[in-house]
Subunit: 243 residues, 2 copies
DNA sequence: AAAGCCGATTGACCCAGATCAAATTTGACG
DNA sequence: CGTCAAATTTGATCTGGGTCAATCGGCTTT
């Protein structure tokens, strides 16, 4: 309510509880889309907004799950590490995504902020209690899980059976598509993540990602711009991705 | 009830409705584990048992979803095809697995029987209606989805970041682990699927799978037996899979 | 504006796994 | 048991993408 809104903390910043779900940016697309205005009032008290800076880790694989997270702003990378340090990014999270569900009681992947991020954090127990007698919320969470499962299967095809060119093309189109509900349709695809992140998402090395971008640019299919890619010949990229 | 139990059909065989959920093999582990005995009586009338022979397709990607399936007996391969015929197997289904959930109204992968298979088939609409006022069933389905999502993420790591040796070792141990609840623990791992299926699951070629098996056998880590693999040196395989 | 840093690009070379091509084994059936 | 057809194994060779090693270029710091 006051002008100086943030509580300062060494790393993460916790916003005072002066916000309302009703005017939340992700109200219509996140888990809360399933709640009616009356429920929303109660729901409001369960979550608190937390900010993370670029590169900060929100939770790590194998951590005991104490919270669920609803991403409000920014982009996160979700990844798993092998003991020797090899990394596979299993997905990028965007506003509206719900993170932290698992059966084991421990997170089964790690999650970092890419750039500044705001999440709505819920205590697992309180959230579970709230959901107990609200099957429509459970249904919404189930829908999100099923959607993710479908995405995960698509990604398996990409990782197991596609060439580097196809991987990169498919990634660019898929990422652009995911941004449509947030930023509208455009041939300019912002890429807030690093080349290393893209490589670890596509099961490639950073060098191959870089070379593939350069090659596509030489062929006039894309233009590499600051902070992203511009699709110059979307049809060509689509042909590669379809292949 | 009578000796001649099966209705013959050209391909699939539909069992007459003389069975009971209460003595179903997967009663304790499938979706129906969430139902109490009273509900089970009603549930019984929703599903019918259907048999498929080796190699038959139960449903195909992009088919309109009219049914859900509860696998009772046998093994299925779940896969996606690229337009040019490349195949990625996204999972193998075992008894207790629930198939067919999706948001789009169309199946997002295809499913074939590997060997003889029995499923419990439910009309989507009737099942949906039944689930409507039974949140514990929804909760069970959500649990199964979350479990699958976790498996899918593990598989992404395998496809994107593991070597052929590691893939094969991880597959053998993972498959053995999945069989424990069904057949108990053993160093003999039955492999009902073909080498091609294994290759398409691991993102390899059939030749590489064959060579890797041969190599592991030469090194004394496994023995290739009829219809499967015997783990001679489980520690060695575990070391490869952990790597 | 020079220096330093870090992510990205480019080049040279290499190798794990793919491809192509035979064997060889297995299984189904008359 | 013999015959096919299909699945698997094995061998020879090739190549897409990895590895190793410089640069390059855009920021920040001073």
């Amino acid at each position: 309510m006051t002008p100086g809104r943030w509580m300062k903390a060494s790393v993460t910043m916790i916003e005072p509880n002066d916000h309302f779900c009703s005017d939340c940016a992700v109200r219509g697309i996140a888990v809360c889309a399933s709640l009616d205005p009356a429920e929303l009032g109660e729901f409001e008290h369960l979550g608190r907004r937390v900010h993370f800076g670029a590169g900060e880790t929100v939770f790590s694989e194998e951590d005991i799950t104490t919270s669920f997270y609803n991403l409000l702003e920014g982009v996160m990378r979700l990844y798993k590490l092998l003991p020797d340090g090899r990394r596979q990014i299993v997905g990028f999270a965007l506003p509206g995504d719900f993170l932290g569900m698992n059966l084991s009681g421990r997170h089964n992947f790690s999650a970092d902020a890419i750039g500044a991020v705001t999440v709505c954090q819920f205590a697992k127990t309180a959230f579970g209690r709230f959901m107990e007698d609200r099957p429509h919320l459970l249904k919404r969470i189930n829908e999100l899980a099923i959607r993710e499962l479908s995405q995960a299967r698509d990604h398996m095809v990409l990782l197991g059976r596609r060439s580097a060119d196809e991987k990169v093309a498919t990634f660019l189109l898929g990422w652009r598509e995911r941004l449509v509900p947030l930023k509208g349709s455009s041939n300019t695809v912002p890429l807030p993540m690093s080349r290393q992140d893209i490589a670890d998402y596509l099961g490639l090395t950073i060098e191959t990602v870089s070379r593939t971008f350069t090659k596509l640019e030489r062929h006039g299919a894309i233009e590499i711009i600051h902070g992203g890619i511009s699709l110059r010949d979307p049809a060509r990229i689509e042909a590669l991705a379809a292949a």
